[in-house]
């Protein structure tokens, strides 16, 4: 063993506590030049904390960091950047209001005080050419798609001549095609001798891209393995600490009547833009209707309109055939529509109120919780809450504590307890497993399937294609507020096909592409034009006019 090259990074015995909880407990981690070293673990296992220590954002309570064999102490991110560490955070760390080139040079000392814009733009173009990371340096970041923003974040690290790149859950927000091009970029950087830390909890991706894999669980390192020769099942078991089964749910055999329908719905978003552009769909009882799409394509606005939280510009929502107009959320609730919103601590629950109060929030005016016209019967409420907490397995020190003290999984269980306990006829669930660990995710999925089998119409909005393909009986894809297509047979579609639809490729082009590639023709029901159809043309035309569009509609 002569003259071994020292690793680019060597983190030794890193410990970091938050309010007494050990988020990292004596973790060793190293990255060699020209390798992809994956950090695998569930949410809350301590992956991001470890990387925030590496990039100088957190000060470790114990342990040391060596860069190319040299002991370093990072007091601020500046030190880490100077040592060649480039972090691509999960939330990218970009200033949305500023342009790409401005984001690129923020905080760079090597530049003159008056910024040489032309030189910067040229340099960005050089690097983006070399790594095939296409972006417009003059575009403001908020106008870019999520995939483009990620390219900017990677470029930013390369612009700073980072030798070690940390990619924190880079695939969570990408469509399959974008993931492939990200992997190509990662392989190129690896080939040039960069060290890459890849963070993820998606096992297929991890196996596809890694050289070595380190597994974290509850703040501790379980071990480090070569990617060759490990199986998905083995990794999952080490990550979760028990055996996990990868099985999709059996699809429903019989679908019930239409319960909730949306007709030519046009809804405005927060910024006054038209977020939902003439959507029509029907939710039937005894089915899970999935909606795939990249975040911010109108899903949220559509769901809010479907439960009465957001008024519509035109079109209508019908519950059991009855037009709801712009009825209040309570009117929807009274007709049996439950809502599981994306932000549990905002729209869903009130963080400063206790469990009891949060549970009765959706029905305190009704018997038996109402006592007379003005009061609430807290004893009845407590009894009811106690039963729910037990039935749904919410772990809590007491019913009187503010719910902000609960973990994400327990919050979601509480949400489900409140929304599902009255046997709703329709459930609108937005990203119900987002940010949950494997156990809680399994639990939530089981509850949704249970509700479907009981006869409820479930509308499931998710960015997790795996989840949608596993649970949905029917699946629609939304892009820029328009339905790109609806299929009765989601499992026949590949993730790539869905990715193209999510990126805005028309259904015709996707089908043509399949033929050209010589893929197997889509099976049975998909060929039937009645079951896989593009969104309603007339409604889209109307939305186009409402937006001020003139002449021929581009998609007609």
């Amino acid at each position: 063993m002569a003259a071994e090259i020292p690793p680019l990074v060597f983190m030794r015995g890193i410990t970091k506590r938050f309010l007494g909880v050990k988020a990292n407990d004596a973790i060793d981690f190293d990255v060699r030049p020209g390798e992809v070293h994956t950090l695998l673990g569930e949410n809350g296992a301590g992956k991001s904390t470890l990387m925030n220590v590496l990039c100088g954002l957190y000060k470790p309570d114990g342990g040391e960091i060596e860069i190319e064999g040299e002991l370093r102490r990072f007091r601020t991110p500046r030190d880490a950047i100077a040592a060649g560490i480039g972090m691509v955070h999960q939330h990218f760390m970009l200033v949305p209001a500023q342009t790409v080139w401005e984001n690129m040079v923020l905080g760079l000392d090597a530049l003159p005080q008056v910024l040489p814009r032309k030189d910067i733009v040229r340099r960005i173009e050089e690097i983006s050419e070399r790594y095939a990371l296409r972006v417009d340096p003059l575009a403001p970041v908020w106008q870019l798609s999520i995939g483009e923003q990620q390219r900017v974040a990677i470029l930013k690290a390369l612009y700073r001549q980072a030798r070690i790149l940390v990619l924190d859950e880079p695939t969570a927000v990408l469509i399959p095609q974008e993931i492939q091009s990200l992997f190509a970029t990662i392989r190129q950087m690896r080939g040039e001798g960069h060290g890459i830390v890849f963070i993820s909890h998606k096992l297929d991706e991890v196996l596809a891209v890694s050289d070595r894999i380190s597994i974290l669980r509850k703040g501790k390192k379980i071990g480090t393995f070569a990617a060759v020769g490990v199986t998905k099942e083995k990794l999952a078991e080490m990550m979760v600490g028990r055996q996990v089964f990868f099985n999709g749910a059996p699809p429903t055999t019989e679908r019930g009547p239409v319960f909730l329908a949306v007709r030519d719905l046009v809804v405005r978003g927060e910024r006054g833009n038209i977020a939902v552009q003439g959507v029509s769909l029907e939710l039937r009882q005894k089915e899970i209707f999935g909606l795939a799409g990249v975040a911010g394509n109108g899903q949220l606005e559509l769901c809010e309109a479907m439960v009465g939280l957001r008024g519509s510009e035109s079109g209508d929502v019908l519950v059991q055939g009855r037009e709801m107009g712009n009825a209040s959320p309570r009117a929807f609730l009274d007709r049996g529509v439950a809502y599981i919103p994306e932000d549990r601590k905002g729209t869903g629950l009130v963080p400063s109120m206790n469990i009891r109060e949060n549970v009765v929030l959706r029905k305190y005016w009704k018997k038996p919780f109402a006592r007379g016209r003005w009061f609430i019967d807290w004893e009845v409420a407590a009894g009811h809450t106690g039963r729910l907490v037990e039935r749904f397995g919410v772990i809590t020190p007491g019913l009187g504590i503010p719910i902000r003290a609960l973990s994400g999984g327990n919050l979601q269980k509480l949400m489900l307890a409140r929304e599902l306990s009255d046997n709703p006829k329709a459930i609108i669930a937005v990203q119900p497993t987002w940010g949950l660990d494997v156990g809680a995710t399994e639990y939530v999925r089981e509850r949704l399937l249970e509700q479907r089998d009981r006869g409820a119409a479930v509308f499931l909005v998710s960015e997790d294609l795996e989840e949608l393909l596993a649970l949905s009986d029917r699946l629609a894809v939304i892009h820029q507020g328009r339905i790109m297509g609806i299929t009765k047979n989601p499992r026949a579609l590949s993730e790539e096909d869905l990715g193209l639809l999510m990126a805005g490729t028309s259904l015709e082009d996707v089908l043509r592409g399949r033929e050209e590639r010589g893929d197997a023709p889509l099976p049975g029901p998909l060929r039937d034009p009645g079951t896989f159809f593009a969104g309603d043309g007339a409604a889209q035309k109307k939305a186009f006019r409402a937006e001020g569009g003139e002449g021929r509609t581009p998609w007609a």
Binding site: L57, V95, A97, Q98, V105, L106, L108, V114, W142, E270
Partner: protein, 309 residues
């Protein structure tokens, strides 16, 4: 046209204190700190400027002292809001009350006194341009300084490295920290300098405009400036137009009174404030187009680097 010139010139002059206050607050708010203490800062600036000018006989020294007094008071706000992560609205309101009371208390002995102050300075050639000349270039040095300041701040914000960091910290302090700068240091810096500039606006009232000290002499101009920052969408050059618009409403109101009308004087005096409410109303109705993009995204929100979000 000839008749209009005195009104336009008066609009610029009475708009100048508002302009300083607005520019100072734009600087502060661009860093993400909301300072509602403008009225207090202006009053303290007006008093400090006047008393130092009166004591030393040097009006420029008065302006400099006013700047420092504003910095000092804004430092209190910065400490409470950045280090103490206090509610910025409450801290700002407290600052207004404190500044109002302090200037009233200390200023009692100066009531009725007058100083030479800073006189006019006509700029040759430029002042001979018809209408524009007498409006903009037959003024005093501090008016010219305010033009320079607005242009400088615009250049600073969009052309320099430091300006880039300032805009970034108001939008995304976490990003700024991740990029190796200190959000805390930047916020302190611009809150303090911004406060100084606001106080110069107050000093302009006492040292240049009226050349005397009067209790509560800023009469709500600080609040107008708070509204103007929104009106200007946090842009220094748009603040110039806005400040003169408000200055013009004030100047016009005086002319109408002087011309003698049947409209009661208190109603006319209300004009600038009614106009402020009107402008804010129009902006909030039109909200969603440019406004949301101009506002620093993290304005008013306390931030701590190691807090998990």
């Amino acid at each position: 046209m000839e008749m209009l010139v005195p009104i336009l010139a008066a609009a610029v002059r009475s708009g100048t204190p508002i302009l300083y206050a607005t520019l100072g607050e734009i600087l502060t708010e661009r860093s993400g700190i909301l300072n509602l203490g403008l009225e207090g800062l202006m009053l303290v600036g007006a008093f400090t400027g006047f008393s130092v000018a009166s004591g030393t006989g040097n009006a420029w020294l008065g302006i400099a002292a006013a700047f420092l007094s504003g910095c000092l008071l804004a430092l209190v706000h910065a400490f409470l809001c950045i280090t103490g992560r206090a509610n910025q609205v409450v801290s700002g309101l407290a600052l207004t009350m404190f500044g109002t009371g302090l200037s009233s208390l200390l200023g009692r002995g100066f009531i009725g006194e007058t100083i030479l102050g800073i006189g006019g300075m006509t700029i040759p050639l430029l002042s001979e341009i018809p209408v524009l000349g007498p409006t903009f270039f037959d003024q005093d040095p501090l008016v010219y300084l305010s033009y320079g300041l607005a242009v400088f701040l615009t250049w600073f914000l969009w052309s320099t490295r430091a300006g880039l960091a300032l805009r970034a910290v108001g939008d995304a302090p976490r990003v700024v920290d991740a990029m190796g700068l200190s959000s805390t240091r930047l916020r302190y810096l611009y809150t303090v300098i911004g406060g100084g500039i606001v106080a110069v606006g107050g000093a302009y009232m006492s040292v240049v405009y009226t050349k005397m000290w009067g209790d509560l002499m800023t009469a709500g101009r600080g609040w107008i400036a708070v509204a103007l920052v929104i009106f200007a969408i946090w842009h220094p050059l748009r603040a110039v137009g806005g400040a003169y618009l408000f200055g013009g409403v004030g100047a016009l109101q005086l002319r109408i009174q002087a011309a003698g009308t049947s409209i009661p004087a208190p109603l006319l005096l209300m004009l600038p404030y009614v106009f402020t409410i009107f402008v804010l109303f129009v902006i909030s109705v039109r909200k969603g187009k440019g406004i949301l993009l101009g506002a620093p995204a993290s304005l008013g929100q306390p931030y701590h680097r190691e807090e998990r979000d």
